[in-house]
Subunit: 319 residues, 2 copies
């Protein structure tokens, strides 16, 4: 497979991941629509297995590894949703999984990852390089590294989210997707444009985690310092090489929201829509609620990327 | 129409309410299943329009009123989900709605009810009788009283929740439904038994709001003092006459959960399933999580009745 991802790859991914990923519901909310001035269709990946869209890409990747290679296992480095997804997908095919996590990762996440049957290797964030540790484990064991976003198999898997959304709601003007490393938006853009040529694709980043926004406007990949934002899934410092090429080709614009707007969107979704979005999952809804998108849009698909947030955090949301 | 509700009435209600009620999703959760030791299928009426199943019965009732009578309006007394549902359904057909609410009702609920276009009449809970006020308004204006549960049109409407659930997941062993006045469980039991003869129907009440439990075991309607429970939707003091007859005929058993168990279930649903259930909506899940149902059950449908809870309340849940 080349670096090029086509709609056909996403359709194949959809078949491949069917046994493991939920087909998540598409929800609507009149109160949201009234306030945002659009008809919004929420693809609820917060209700996905593992609590985020990540299972789509991780399982498509792992199920694409040749059998003899797969038996040597997989390795991933992440303290977030991708790690859980790799652990779940590896367990589903009996492949050993090693997840490299920082020593100070939340105990609940370490426990959850172990609970899925993965081996957790910890490292000191101040002194050690997790990619080097992952690479060493891979070269010693023959395990395959499952990258978080910048790979065609990952991108094709993530694209199934938008594919399902457009299968259910075909006549969308626009699709709004959050951007971390860019795996979700690039896969989703390919699927959406294939299924509805004229659809406009908008990316949303946290104001301080604007690496793709800057790169988009500069026309080349820009690296930023570690972002400070509550959207922990979107703290990437640089877009991927594969993902950025797709973003440049297919995305219309990238808008920004601040942490206060993200909190407001989370509260609105919880109190009015009764669903829990994590900060990263609320940036798309925040962009709509706070009018960051063109006012001409009428029917807008929004991917709610995940819902993994500690209940302690909710208590900081206020009323 | 007699007091008797048949499956045919529920099928007709389903057609009637289609323009206004959401077909809510059925969600599953492996973490819930692992902990409860069953395969649970959650019919998410917390994601329903107005945040609760009540729109089903209220709209079926209002759409069944003859046109000439409907133009004189409807009246309802409730400080909760039924009031909102009546206001929404009445507005959808341009019928004037008057809702009798206590002076000390939460301002947000009064505002929401007015926001749907209803006229709110307040009364003093200590000195006045809301039913008398409602009856006076009805007799003066010719408006039709929309009862909260004890009427065949209401029961038929509520039954559409279980009908949709069984259309999606046919092979259930059991259906678990919370009981306030009994409208939801009686309609749901009729639908479920018609669609799957052998299904077992279980009711769940808060331990202190056990009016139907006591009545069930005594074989006649018992009245209890005003219940103290966080499940504000289930604080009925006596089952309805029509609903209780159906409960006696079709329900296998009624189990009880306490407020601590309800809180735990709410927390579990929020943190693991990413959905917000109100206390009344969490009693069914609580009964499963705390093993109040026969251990032989394997595939269990659970109706999550609503999700209307103030975010302040969430902050009392702890971690």
């Amino acid at each position: 497979m080349s670096d090029r991802v086509e709609f056909f790859d996403i359709q194949a991914a959809s078949e491949r991941i069917r046994p493991i990923a939920h087909r998540t519901p598409v929800l609507t909310s009149r109160s949201f629509d009234t306030r945002a001035g659009v008809a919004a269709f929420f693809k609820c990946e917060n209700l996905q297995r593992g609590g985020a869209f990540k299972i789509r890409g991780a399982s498509n990747f792992i199920y694409s590894i040749p059998k003899d290679k797969l038996s040597r296992g997989v390795v991933s480095f992440s303290s977030g949703n991708h790690a859980q997804a790799v652990a779940i997908a590896a367990a589903s095919v009996g492949a050993p999984a090693t997840i490299v996590m920082p020593l100070d990762a939340p105990r609940s996440k370490v426990a959850a990852t172990r609970g899925y049957g993965a081996t957790v290797v910890t490292y000191d964030r101040m002194k050690e390089d997790r990619e080097a540790i992952g690479a060493r484990i891979a070269s010693e064991s023959g395990a395959t590294i499952v990258p978080p976003f910048d790979h065609p198999w990952i991108i094709a898997g993530q694209g199934t989210a938008a594919m399902e959304l457009l299968e259910e709601v075909g006549d969308l003007d626009a699709l709004v997707v959050c951007i971390g490393g860019g795996g979700l938006i690039s896969g989703s853009a390919i699927a959406a444009k294939a299924m509805r040529r004229g659809i406009h694709i908008f990316g949303v980043e946290p104001r301080d985690g604007n690496d793709t926004h800057l790169s988009f406007h500069k026309g080349e990949r820009v690296k930023i310092p570690p972002p400070q934002t509550i959207a922990d899934g979107l703290r990437s410092m640089q877009p991927g090489a594969v993902t950025f090429a797709i973003v440049r080709e297919l995305v219309e614009d990238i808008v920004l929201v601040n942490d206060g707007e993200i909190r407001e969107a989370m509260k609105f979704m919880l109190s009015r829509m009764k669903i829990l979005a994590e900060p990263s999952g609320a940036v798309g809804p925040a962009a709509l609620l706070f009018n960051q998108l063109p006012p001409t849009l009428k029917r807008v698909g929004v991917i709610v990327s995940g819902g993994n947030v500690d209940l302690e955090f909710l208590q900081t949301l206020g009323n």
